[in-house]
């Protein structure tokens, strides 16, 4: 976390494994929770909360993908499709059976997990880029199926409107309601991932990533754990899809096309593979950067150029700056924003007595 850990000695395995390395960390987490649960939603305008909501959705999706790609080392370009499986499962349940959202959320996640495990079967034989292409095939097959099977997609338009989620008699519709709704799941996803990666399962994932033959020799069931990684990752994706559907009020097939899978891969690579904090940083970076670039250009662009030129320039320049900044950050720190953050932290750890 963000406090100085100078002079902390860990003498037991329990202490080393602890989520909180220092007692003060609990306070930090408490303050951060207070900030996100009270200060931000109660002070900021709904517009900023809508951006936060998009970030939250991206965070959950990126965490899921990072479990698979970052922790288990199985490259996947099918994340968007797994999201759509969750979304359409939930939308069908919500409209056909009128079931409540917690049921749909869970069902969407589980259905995505099942489909993800099936798509993950090739991972038992192939690795790296080959696996990436196999999951790409999964993405395209799922996309095609949803696009053409009207039983799933609910008609040629391939979009199903879902009612807003309800809590008792309260209908969650405003961005502020959604903010809390999504934040709960973000917390669950973060805590879940942190606990997963320090458990036996998580260590098995990491062993498979580092050297799968060695992992098999020390007694890890590769078959089971690789598919488990796909299932857990897809479960997250499915949940993301369901939350996205409830956020928008509609499941639409064009929201989960291949570009989305690439965006999520970009998030975890920029944020840092194999780290929880990295997934969060990546999701924030990829979602916020275009908005920040545009807002600053709207503010300053008019000083130098006429308005019509600025209007045409903003979207193009934004794309260029977005690409350039990604390259820039990756050159500065190939291990992602998470490592950059850790560098800053370790600099301050011994500050001001740098050697």
């Amino acid at each position: 976390m963000i406090h100085r850990e100078c002079g902390v000695l860990k003498t037991t395995y329990e202490a080393d494994m602890g989520l909180y390395p220092l007692p003060i960390a609990k306070w930090t987490v408490g303050i951060i929770a207070g900030l996100f649960f009270a200060v931000i939603p109660l002070t900021l305008h709904e517009y900023y909360l809508s951006i936060a909501n998009l970030v939250w959705i991206a965070v959950i999706g990126a965490l899921g993908l990072n479990i698979l790609v970052g922790y288990t080392g199985q490259v996947s370009i099918g994340h968007g499709a797994f999201m759509s499986v969750g979304a359409y499962t939930a939308a069908n349940l919500a409209t056909r059976l009128d079931s409540p959202w917690p049921v749909n959320l869970l069902a969407g996640g589980l259905m995505a997990a099942a489909v993800g495990a099936v798509v993950g079967i090739p991972s038992l034989r192939i690795k790296g880029l080959y696996l990436a292409i196999a999951t790409l095939a999964g993405q395209l097959i799922i996309e095609w199926t949803i696009n053409h099977v009207t039983f799933i997609s609910g008609g040629v338009q391939a979009s199903i409107e879902v009612p807003r989620p309800r809590l008792g008699s309260m209908v969650l519709s405003s961005q502020r309601d959604m903010y809390y709704f999504l934040l709960v799941f973000v917390v669950l996803a973060i805590v879940g991932t942190m606990n997963l990666v320090r458990s036996r399962v998580g260590r098995a994932f990491i062993a498979i990533r580092d050297q799968d033959i060695a992992a098999e020799i020390i007694g890890i069931d590769i078959f089971r754990y690789k598919l488990l990684a796909f299932a857990i990752s897809s479960f997250y994706a499915g949940m993301t899809g369901v939350l996205y559907t409830y956020f928008l009020g509609i499941a639409n097939y064009e929201q989960f096309q291949i570009g989305v899978s690439i965006d999520y891969l970009a998030m975890i690579i920029i944020g840092g593979l194999g780290s929880v904090l990295g997934s969060i940083f990546g999701a924030i970076f990829v979602t916020l950067l275009p908005i920040v670039i545009r807002l600053s250009m709207e503010a300053f662009g008019g000083m130098f150029l006429p308005q019509q030129v600025v209007l045409n320039l903003i979207p193009n320049l934004r794309l260029m700056m977005f690409g350039a900044l990604i390259v820039f950050f990756l050159i500065v720190e190939p291990d992602g924003l998470n490592r950059l953050w850790r560098n800053i932290r370790s600099y301050f750890r011994i500050w001001p007595f740098a050697y």
Partner: protein
Amino acid sequence: MRHFGIGLLAALVAVMGALGALSPAAAQQEIVIGLQCDRTGPTQIVGTVLCPGFHDYIALVNSKGGVEGHKLRALEIDHEYKVPPAVESYERHKKEGAVTMAIYGTPQIYALAAKLTEDKIPGTSPGFGSAAAADGIRYPYIFPIAATYWSQGTAAVDFVKKQLGGSLKGKKIAFIFYDNPAGREPIEVLEDLAVIEGFQFKMFAVPPPGVEMGAQILDIAQRFRADFVIGHLFGGAPAVSIKEFKRVGYPLKKVVSFVWGSAEANIDAAGGFAVAEGYYTMQFAGVGSDYPVLNEIREMYKKEGKPAPKEMASTVYYNRGVLIAALHVEAIRNALKAKKDGKITGADVKAGFEKISNFTLGGLVPPLKVTPTDHEGGGLVQIWQVKGGKFEKVTDWYSAYTDVVAKHIKQAASK
């Protein structure tokens, strides 16, 4: 490296600070229109021309003193045809107090439909989006305001019928379409018409991104031997289809394209007007530069001492931008007329849209009649043909088989 990290942190803090200071104060009298654009995404050939047309019309209205004394401000946000930026841009427009929004893109209008209705802000989806949204009762805040894909389908069949001598009995009509939800939308209506008119109907799907359709077109020309082809393609695909029809020797004067495959940009990409000679296109806004409102825009630029924007040369999309802007302005004008204090809300503009009737802008806009139940305004189109290096008008504004379209809208509403 370490010092670098600190510098970076400082830069981030500075940007955040700049953002905090950034809260444009809107003038009291100003009326904000939210405009979503795609100047950089897959449909950029539309956005780069359509959006300048929108802005030019707003500027023209402002140069003449605004609407009922109120200045207009069109706030444009580019969403790259992606959904999350469209959500962000919707909320931004709402924050800026937009009373009406020009949404762009089928997935975007789907994603925003619930929000628009909850927040009571009218949003337009001209020429795309769900055809069922023409039902003003079910979708009170969505306004297609131009022929939907269903109306385009019926209009196309009617046109084909006239071209083939008044009867379609036993004729073969091929439908070549982009294989996505928007592409498949007209199928149900066309299948209905095949039964009513007794023609043989066959579909040919082109998978995205629509650059490979040699097999389908060869099939249409030589195996199916279609008497007429209805094309419904997007982006770069229409140009490819023109080239392929040319290659297999199928006459282009037996092809009619829906509204997104019918602009100068598509013809140019296919190799120019000489190549596409004979190709029929469907339009929901007037084509060409011979309209009084366009002369006024050129006049406005002249007064400012500037040349007319180069986008004006691409008349199909530019004119559509003008049409969309004009309908928004007209709705705002109706709202302001009804509410003299000038404090209009989205609900007022919705009512304003529903009062639009016989507003033609010298022929550039079809004589729409938008009502509280019909948000499409009649589904009027014109057919223009590529002839002698330019588009030539073949039919005037018309719609066809309105009963069939109405039946489908009713069916969709009962779902």
